[in-house]
Symmetry: C2
Subunit: 353 residues, 2 copies
């Protein structure tokens, strides 16, 4: 499917990108693109490392690489998955991923975990948690980038999705632990959003973040096996009831969002959950919501990049940053009016060199 | 309480602001500030008109006015109120407002309705809906500004709140019909957020926007009177159950968020609802959440103003706007990569005159 001619693994020193690499030689976008399009997992891993790089010269190479993949126009089903630690998310991803592979599909797993920089490791950092899946040739697992800043994680994850699609994966699972705004962010880059929960015992609180109901397409109550099965079914009913209290969204067919039981451990309910995801995606495709959502997401991504770029110019000016800091403290203390303080910062922005 | 010397109703032509008024003479901030601080409702109305003005010279006068009120450091309890048409919101505001006035309090009502520009009129445009309240000297009712753009409505409402506080009101009710993001926006400028709902009949859907659970402090089921009372009490139970499934927020005492019945028509449950609002505000004051929330809100407002100002500079450049438009369409159609398209727009921004 690749239209791109073979290229050396390293670009010649006089290649068009040479001047953009002040330090050691960077990766060659043409060679990386070819590897990715051929489904080479090592090339994919290196390509993701390139888009995650903060270096300005790497950024130019990353844009080049992404543009080389775009003409292939490959699409995966992008599924967002959220669940707090303890609900069995790793076990679910492993069972669900292997089930998909059993159906002949190739599965990539990416993580968005803005807390990983703080906690010192991504939830997916330890691949041994998904040992069988990570060893399978039809799977690709990538831990969350170590980035404290959510906006940076968002850009890199969006680009990693594009790379996985270029590599021909059929399903891209983007998982998040649901810290701060990360679920909304993942919902904005996926076609479907799945929330994984554990059974609640009696009156026990579930601790579902309130905003999550806004974005969930499917609520899966895990651990619906053994002793926990009755509690799991009860929890399914509770959520089904709560979902019925909420307004129907135009992009949902009858019966969605839906709550259902699964057992990742016993590998039960996974095919049924997959059938629901496919039915939902199919309905949205037929009604045009699927493509319109992707078009909207792409436009928002573009606009977010522009805004981020302009705001980066704001932050990059030391005089502006100094005033932001000082005036922000004054405003919080009630010693300066927000609108007046903002006008001062903007004057400094206009006056910058 | 005013520290500001009397001033003529119109500034002298050679006054310091004169050069900022190219057209007809603008209002005098010093005189307006004095009127507002004296609790003059006509001065307050004119002051709000000034902050709502889009004219650059008016903006300078508005900032001047706001700074003249700040030293008085007057505070009202800011209550956000949301409810879709049909739940009896006008009747509730009238009954609740008159009840507060009966307790010796002064009440201002502002509206945030981003749809009013489209629908051709604010929900509060017709004051006859709250006839008794609007005629009361201890009340001030202001319809939503006719602004399609939510950011503009936000700034003007924040500033109108500051003006009402300067005028010595004890409670400022900010109501919204809950279109788009307006509830989140109102929550970000208030101390408490109240959701007003109608009783649900049997399995009937309530149509509550999903994100609302994130921000509601108190859910009031209205029309808990006559035939609807049993349905109202059932609905209270349904929401109490749904609220228990959600995670406790650090700024909530035990039992909050809370669902309870009221009848605006029969004037029942209003004092109880007010007692709950006071208890919640008091608890947050004691724990420091009240002041820290206000400080955060002020800082966010400041930062939002800075961002809005920088983004306005982006939009104001015709070449940048042209490229944003053209490239956004290409990105949505899949014909341009978002990151590359953004880089092009940013290059045009840097090159602007």
């Amino acid at each position: 499917m690749s239209q791109i001619p073979p290229a050396p693994a390293r670009p010649a020193a006089d290649g068009p990108e040479a001047s953009a690499r002040p330090g050691r030689a960077g990766p060659d976008p043409a060679a990386l693109a070819e590897g990715v399009l051929n489904g080479d997992r090592r090339a994919l891993a290196r390509a993701i490392t390139l888009v995650e790089s903060g270096r300005a010269d790497h950024r130019a190479l990353a844009l080049d690489l992404l543009e080389r993949l775009a003409p292939a126009r490959r699409q995966a089903l992008r599924i967002g998955l959220s669940g707090t630690p303890g609900v069995g998310k790793s076990t679910f991803i492993e069972s669900f991923g292997l089930m998909l592979i059993g159906l002949g599909l190739r599965v990539a797993v990416l993580a968005v975990d803005p807390s990983s920089a703080r906690s010192g490791g991504s939830i997916l950092g330890d691949k041994t948690r998904m040992e069988r899946l990570s060893r399978d040739r039809a799977a690709f697992i990538r831990p969350s980038p170590s980035q404290a800043e959510l906006g940076g994680v968002a850009r890199r994850t969006r680009e990693a999705i594009a790379l996985c699609e270029g590599a021909g994966f059929d399903v891209v699972l983007i998982e998040t632990v649901g810290v701060g705004q990360s679920e909304t962010l993942v919902a904005e880059m996926t076609d479907l959003f799945v929330l994984l929960l554990a059974p609640a015992g009696g009156d026990e609180l579930q601790g579902v973040k309130r905003g999550i109901m806004e974005i969930a397409d499917l609520i899966l109550i895990n651990k619906a096996d053994g002793d926990l099965k009755p509690a799991a079914l009860r929890t399914v009913n509770d959520y089904a009831g709560a979902l019925r209290l909420l307004r129907r969204r135009p992009h949902d067919p009858d019966g969605f969002p839906k709550a259902m039981p699964v057992s990742a451990l016993a590998e039960e309910g996974l095919q049924k959950a997959w059938a629901e995801m496919q039915a939902l995606a199919e309905w949205r495709r037929e009604k045009g919501f699927f493509d319109s959502r992707r078009a909207e997401q792409a436009r928002h991504w573009f606009e977010a990049e522009v805004r981020a770029g302009v705001l980066a110019r704001l932050a990059a000016d030391p005089e502006v940053a100094r005033r932001m800091q000082a005036l922000g403290a004054k405003v919080a203390a009630g010693a300066a009016a927000p609108a007046r303080a903002a006008a001062e910062v903007l004057a400094a922005f206009d006056a910058r060199g």
